[in-house]
């Protein structure tokens, strides 16, 4: 099982590296939106708006990234994957790959964002921890939703409708944590929030692990 997951993650990395334009388009998206934010705020932005804007851009980049995650597996190559891999390995591999991609993407976004709009965060290490855990929580939830949405006719629309309400509390929590990181340098002030994000991530992964085989079997 473990070996299978690693193989599947490597397959995803290789395939997506071969079609790099998807990754480049995500980077370009982040770059464009950050630049638009820079132009519209004329470089002067208060801290709360900085945080809200950052997480909203991250959220939409994440949605774009995970929308594509099942375009191969659940369509024309479905039968092939059905014969060679276990569904649970597939979903765990997808979550791992998407988490990795989103963590990288969001760290890059953080860099781009602070170049254009400045970096108001005082507790950078905790904020980066928050980005890492938050991105993986967003990624696992979005992967599960993308799997569900790929079964419908209107993929993109359903994806937005299903994931927005599910992501909203996560996003509020992330914004709250970031606001604490803005002013305070102590880690113990945010440990509850970080723990909540972590547990929500675990819960989502367990749910995907249990439910994906039913989605897969068609």
């Amino acid at each position: 099982m473990f070996k299978e997951i690693i193989e599947l993650v490597l397959k995803d990395v290789r395939l997506n590296w071969r079609e790099r334009n998807a990754i480049y388009s995500l980077l370009l998206y982040v770059l464009c939106t950050s630049y638009i934010a820079y132009l519209s705020f004329e470089g002067i932005i208060n801290e709360r708006s900085w945080i809200a804007l950052f997480w909203i851009i991250v959220l939409f980049a994440a949605m774009n990234a995970s929308l594509q995650s099942f375009k191969r597996e659940l369509n024309y190559q479905a039968l092939f994957f059905y014969t060679i891999a276990r569904p649970r390995a597939i979903i765990i591999a997808k979550i791992t790959y998407n988490s990795g991609l989103l963590i990288l993407l969001n760290l890059v976004s953080y860099t781009i964002f602070s170049t254009f709009l400045g970096n108001p965060i005082s507790n950078t290490i905790t904020f980066i921890l928050c980005i890492v855990i938050g991105s993986s929580a967003i990624a696992s939830l979005l992967t599960l939703i993308a799997a569900i949405a790929s079964k419908t006719n209107n993929n993109g629309g359903i994806m937005a409708v299903l994931s927005m309400p599910l992501l909203l509390p996560l996003l509020i929590n992330l914004i709250k944590t970031s606001e604490i990181c803005l002013l305070e340098n102590e880690f113990y002030l945010v440990d509850n929030q970080i723990l909540f994000l972590f547990l929500l991530n675990i819960a989502t992964i367990i749910l995907s692990y249990l439910l994906f085989p039913y989605l897969w079997r068609d």
Binding site: L144, T152, L162, P169, Q193
Partner: protein
């Protein structure tokens, strides 16, 4: 379906809670005053909604076990009745908020949680309607229903406890148990909860039977 006793019990309990809820003595509290009687109608709706959503999730589980369409239909009707109950709970809560907090809507974690849960369950119906294939529609929506229930418990059960809330029992407010300890109120509140749960299941059973007739026609 044949047993009638629980329906009669539900009617009696709800009638009792309406009459006793409006006539029985209640503790005199500042700001709340007589609006405390809304407890019998507002809080009971949420209890009833959570039970209905739980039943809906249970039906979805059973569907995934045997792929019997009856369970899918039951899950849908329980969820729609649950949404109805949560709308009633929201309305009674908004009226109560107007008289105690001064506005219909406040930025309170519990209110946000319920609004989000409502959106999640509305998305469940959007999802159902967007899949044409009947088999995959039942299966996908059953999976989503289970996710929705777990997330709802997180959003209305765990998340509000992490922050301050205007609702009793959270962050410095008088706890729910404080005025609920009044034995008079308890005598009305618990029967009201049971009564509304029974009425809610009865409504969903009726809706389920109507749908079954429509399908078989």
């Amino acid at each position: 379906m044949q047993s009638k006793w629980w329906k009669i019990l539900g009617i009696i309990l709800v009638l009792y809670s309406i009459i006793a809820g409006l006539l029985m003595p209640v503790p005199r509290l500042n700001i709340l005053n007589e609006t405390i009687r809304n407890l019998y109608f507002h809080v009971t709706m949420w209890f009833s909604m959570i039970v209905l959503m739980f039943l809906s999730m249970k039906q979805s589980f059973q569907f995934l076990k045997g792929f019997d369409k009856i369970h899918d239909l039951k899950a849908e009707t329980y969820a729609s009745t649950g949404i109805f109950m949560s709308l009633l709970g929201l309305t009674t809560g908004m009226i109560w908020a107007q008289f105690t907090w001064g506005t219909f809507w406040v930025n309170d974690p519990k209110l946000n949680g319920t609004a989000v849960s409502l959106l999640i369950y509305l998305a469940y119906f959007v999802l159902r309607n967007s899949i044409e294939n009947q088999d995959s529609k039942a299966r996908v929506s059953a999976i989503y229903n289970i996710i929705a229930f777990v997330m709802m418990i997180v959003f209305i059960g765990i998340l509000p406890r992490m922050t301050d809330s205007l609702h009793p029992g959270n962050g410095g407010n008088p706890a729910f148990g404080n005025y609920d300890l009044d034995s008079n109120m308890r005598m009305v509140f618990y029967p009201a909860v049971i009564g509304w749960i029974l009425i809610g299941s009865w409504i969903s059973q009726l809706r389920f039977r109507i749908k079954l007739l429509e399908i078989n026609k």
